[in-house]
């Protein structure tokens, strides 16, 4: 599903060149569950942003579903993100003035899906992620775990094939974090590709495939069966 070859990412920090990614080669198959770990500044978040088409590599090639997305224009990238990728962030990034339901609905609104179809999908999403009773609540009326569930439901609104989660449990207590991970894992069970960036070894260990980044390079790529 994903094939990265020779991905470089060079940032300029006050005239000094910083290599966030150095020649990353990575292939990720359909319905994989993968965690990316590593110390701060190892390039794990940059890698996730490149995968999520939020950041452009300085060099290298990125094939997504067999399509080269490295040269795509801004609007085309936005379209691919909308159709193919769901994002889950550490700080939830819910729109504060909108209700839980409206937040979940947002990607469908942006995609121009008709209201009836949206309502149909929305009802399912709210039910699937246990949000039906909180549908009318605004984010400031929800707990952290509920917020992240709203965010995951929103990520799933367009039924993407790829879910990217950047420290999804980083802002939650341990128990709630594990619950959120269970929700993400269900997405994986339903056939989605889930990639989680985390610095929490306990969270990282849950994935079947675990990548360790050091200094912008993949230092370790391990698989285990099951889990």
């Amino acid at each position: 599903m994903i094939r990265l070859s020779g991905i470089e990412r060079v940032d300029r920090d006050g005239g000094e060149e910083v290599h966030a990614l150095r020649g990353v080669d990575l292939a990720i198959g359909r319905a994989e569950y993968l965690s990316i770990m590593g110390p701060s500044g190892s390039g794990k978040s940059t890698l996730l942003n490149v995968l999520g088409l939020l950041d452009r590599p300085s060099a290298g090639r990125y094939l997504l579903d067999g399509r080269d997305v490295t040269g795509l224009g801004d609007d085309e990238l936005a379209r691919v993100r909308r159709e193919t990728i769901g994002f889950v962030f550490q700080f939830f990034h819910l729109v504060p003035r909108l209700s839980a339901a409206q937040n979940v609905e947002l990607p469908m609104v942006l995609a121009g899906i008709a209201a009836e179809e949206r309502q149909r999908r929305l009802a399912r999403l709210l039910a699937d992620y246990g949000l039906a009773e909180r549908a009318g609540h605004r984010p400031d009326q929800l707990s952290g775990g509920q917020c992240q569930r709203v965010a995951i439901a929103r990520a799933m609104a367009m039924a993407p094939r790829l879910i990217l989660a950047d420290e999804p449990t980083g802002n939650l207590d341990r128990h709630t974090g594990q619950e959120v991970m269970k929700v993400l894992e269900r997405v994986h069970h339903d056939g989605g590709t889930v990639i989680v960036v985390t610095h929490d070894p306990e969270i990282g260990a849950r994935a079947q495939r675990r990548i360790r980044m050091v200094d912008g390079e993949i230092a370790e790529d391990r698989r285990s069966d099951g889990g």
Binding site: A78, F87, H93, R97, L106, L110, G112, A114, R154
Partner: protein, 399 residues
């Protein structure tokens, strides 16, 4: 994005900051209200002045002695102009399409009854004066169609003069002195009120030849020519000019068609209305600056939200449109409130001061609303572009 969702999203953003939205729209509202109010007064004034002039009718041409509008003529040429005579007026009556050509002399005279006297404006006219100026006689008749060169000593009184001198008595047939000579009252005019400062009721009308004698003048001040309403003005003017040039040997007179005067007035008054609208427009610009400020703050506050929207698939164009939409909606709301406010104050002014002519033309109202939206859009361009230009990743990180 579907249009309805677009509007709903924009409205939700505005509702999230009710007070801010209210205050920002208020700026536009005040601007629009002042534009509406000022143009209402300007337009009212316009209508008032035009009405004052057209009550004499619009198919009028004034003929006056001397060439006022000559360009580059020497002063000597003016001095050689011959006075306009009663015979000139009689001759002009023969011009094509002309219905009435009435000679006029104006001055002041003392009107007296035994024991009472009053200084009034005196008009020396021909028998057709009332007809030419669409003025009506209340009782009796206007001056009879005598030979204007040797007319009988009859007088017609303005409404006020009649009331002051005779009170409730019927003045018809009464004898009084005008400028020391004896006259008999044959009619009383309908009250006409003030016209541009002249009290048309504190007047008396006597035959023009007698007025010329009284004032020791050898020429008329003006000849009023009324023509068939359907006749082409140029043709009428040409006819008058030909006759007078033949009689005087040169074009030593000036034709002033009422229509052209109205056009000039119209142009001047339009300029006045435009000028006051522009003054109101200044406050509209200030309102626009308010929108610019609030939207700039809004973009800064919502940077992270913009990043999210971009991450989940909004294009730069959608972001641009969302913020432009907010700006347009803010100003449209303010504009609508301003319309109501301006119209309301104008209506109240009209009620409170009936003398103050106030008129709100709907095309100005529609225009003002369009201008409000345009101001909002213009104010929204810079913040909206800034929002659309944000890098999604950096925007997401700003928290």
């Amino acid at each position: 994005m579907i249009a309805r969702d677009f509007i709903a999203f924009t409205l939700a953003a505005l509702r999230a900051h009710r007070l801010r939205t209210l205050l920002t729209s208020l700026g536009i509202a005040v601007g629009i209200a002042s534009v509406i109010l000022l143009t209402s007064i300007g337009e009212g004034l316009h209508r008032f002045i035009i009405a004052e002039f057209t009550q004499f009718g619009t198919n009028l041409i004034g003929v006056s002695p001397g060439r006022i509008q000559t360009h580059g003529a020497s002063l000597g040429a003016v001095n050689t102009s011959r006075p306009l005579s009663i015979e000139d007026a009689l001759a002009l009556k023969q011009a094509p399409h002309v219905e009435v050509a009435d000679p006029l002399v104006q001055g002041n005279a003392e009107v007296s009854l035994p024991g009472r006297s009053r200084r009034v404006t005196l008009y020396g006219t021909g028998p057709d004066f009332a007809r030419a100026l669409s003025m009506r006689v209340a009782i009796g008749d206007y001056l009879p169609p005598d030979d204007p060169r040797a007319a009988r000593a009859f007088v017609v009184l303005g409404a006020k003069v009649a009331e002051e001198l005779f009170g409730a008595d019927n003045p018809l047939g009464a004898r009084l002195r005008v400028g020391g000579e004896r006259y008999r009252v044959v009619g009383v005019m309908e009250a006409k009120g003030q016209i541009l400062g002249f009290d048309m009721d504190d007047t008396v009308f006597i035959p023009v030849a007698r007025a010329l004698d009284m004032f020791n003048r050898d020429g008329l001040m003006e000849i009023h020519v009324a023509y068939e309403p359907t006749a082409p003005l140029a043709e009428v003017e040409e006819g008058l000019r030909r006759i007078l040039v033949a009689r005087h040997g040169a074009e030593d007179f000036t034709l002033t068609p009422q229509q052209k005067m109205l056009e000039v007035f119209g142009t001047v008054l339009d300029a006045v209305t435009f000028a006051v609208a522009a003054i109101g427009g200044i406050s509209l610009v200030v309102g626009g600056v308010g929108i610019l400020t609030i939207l700039t703050i809004g973009v800064a506050e919502r940077t992270s939200e913009i990043g999210l929207l971009r991450a989940i698939g909004a294009t730069r164009r959608s972001i641009l449109l969302l913020f432009l939409g907010e700006a347009a909606l803010l100003s449209a709301l303010g504009g609508a409130a301003g319309l109501l406010l301006g119209w309301g104050i104008a209506a109240l002014l009209g009620l409170a001061f009936p003398a103050l002519p106030v008129h709100t033309p709907w095309r100005y109202a529609a225009l003002a609303e369009l201008v409000a939206v345009a101001v909002g859009l213009a104010a929204g361009v810079a913040p909206a572009r800034r929002a659309a230009g944000l890098d999604p990743l950096e925007a997401l990180r700003s928290e």
